[in-house]
Symmetry: C2
Subunit: 234 residues, 2 copies
């Protein structure tokens, strides 16, 4: 096990280091040898060792500090990565047919909770949209969205009857900042009807707020049809 031969790639080195962590050769909280020493052991260079250790640190196995050295993390805080594709892609990638429908469009003064949540002045006009996304004509996602027109006045004249605000926004507004939450909500009457389920049913829900250079742009609540699960492997 862990046979350091010559000409090891940074991948090989990553694997050897991981093995040693797993086999407790380098125990949690212990300090690894310096990059220079490891480079010598693996008859490689410090650059290559650096890349290996840097990536392992990014993956949550190691903690690195200048001068202090590289330390094995005791509780490997593994990081789950979820890609957040557009609904359209999420549906078409499974081979299903995607269909979009606009349910409601309105310009209205921001409700108090929205003002507070997104930090916009009380009573400022916002664009409110409700839409549905279908996969093979079965309800897939019910979207409730608010858009603050201040930073993007064109949004008020955009046509959302044929394609969703998401499509439009990613084209127009390169957001700089994003908050994403997942939670479980109880279906109210509207949600239940659109998702073809019973009021009170548990609904997997995503909430997404984006900013552009500090200015709030949009808040979206995405209600997924019952049975939806967000899955990742690592």
């Amino acid at each position: 096990m862990a046979a350091p031969r010559a000409n090891m790639s940074y991948r090989d080195i990553k694997q050897v280091v991981l093995d040693r962590i797993h086999n407790k050769i380098w125990a949690p909280d212990s300090l690894l040898p310096s990059e220079t020493d490891l480079a010598e052991e693996f008859s490689s260079t410090r650059t290559t060792v650096n890349r290996a250790l840097r990536e392992l640190a990014e993956e949550g196995y190691l903690e690195r500090k200048r001068k202090a050295g590289t330390r094995v993390l005791n509780a490997p805080v593994r990081k789950a990565q979820f890609s957040i594709p557009l609904v359209r892609d999420e549906i078409t990638e499974t081979g299903s047919e995607y269909r979009y429908a606009l349910v409601e469009r309105a310009v209205m003064p921001a409700p108090a909770w929205l003002s507070a949540r997104m930090n916009i002045p009380q009573g400022r006009d916002v664009l409110h949209l409700r839409c549905m996304h279908y996969a093979d004509n079965a309800p897939f996602q019910y979207e409730v969205r608010w858009i603050v027109p201040d930073s993007i006045p064109e949004v008020l004249t955009a046509d959302f009857s044929r394609s969703g605000p998401n499509d439009w926004l990613v084209q127009k507004v390169p957001f700089t900042n994003l908050e994403l939450s997942f939670l479980a909500t109880k279906a109210d009457q509207a949600v239940a009807e659109f998702l073809d389920t019973q009021a009170g049913d548990p609904i997997f829900t995503a909430e997404r707020i984006t900013w552009l250079r500090g200015q709030p742009v949009t808040l979206a609540k995405l209600f997924f049809a019952p049975g939806y699960r967000m899955t990742t492997h690592l």
Copy 2:
């Protein structure tokens, strides 16, 4: 804007490239200049440019193929990263006091759905645990767990009355493979009682299966107390 001066760090280069993507100087689907050309423009080296572009690709902005070049992705598939800490840490980090309690421990033949789900032989004995995690004595998470003892016989003699299976497992078993799902479930009577809520309430739920070298090790269902949301910023 985007003033390429000399001695730019890989961070600077990343920023300039990002700016150019946002300002559509490099439009979606278009090809970037080659690393060599960019290195010249930024009066830097190919190595540095390479790191900048590589990281931007990892972050989901670019797609890179040998010979084919580096392309701007039209729908930036941004990747949300959630760290999955131990419950204990998740609670203590907010300053709350963590308390653990074992609810039930039993060795039983694997139920059919579990056999199927984890690909273990029908009727094989598995360890079944139910436990509670409290934050400041308020219910935080209800954990239902199955452990396959085949690859780790010691688990049958481990003491789970004082600390949770999670703590034990991360110490003993370096899993190699993990499937993690989030979904919304409806609280049944047991879940409702332990989480101090009403049966039928929506519960944010995580399901986690881990393997060790292809062998299934454990499946955990984690039911979070009402109001829980999993949040990330990027």
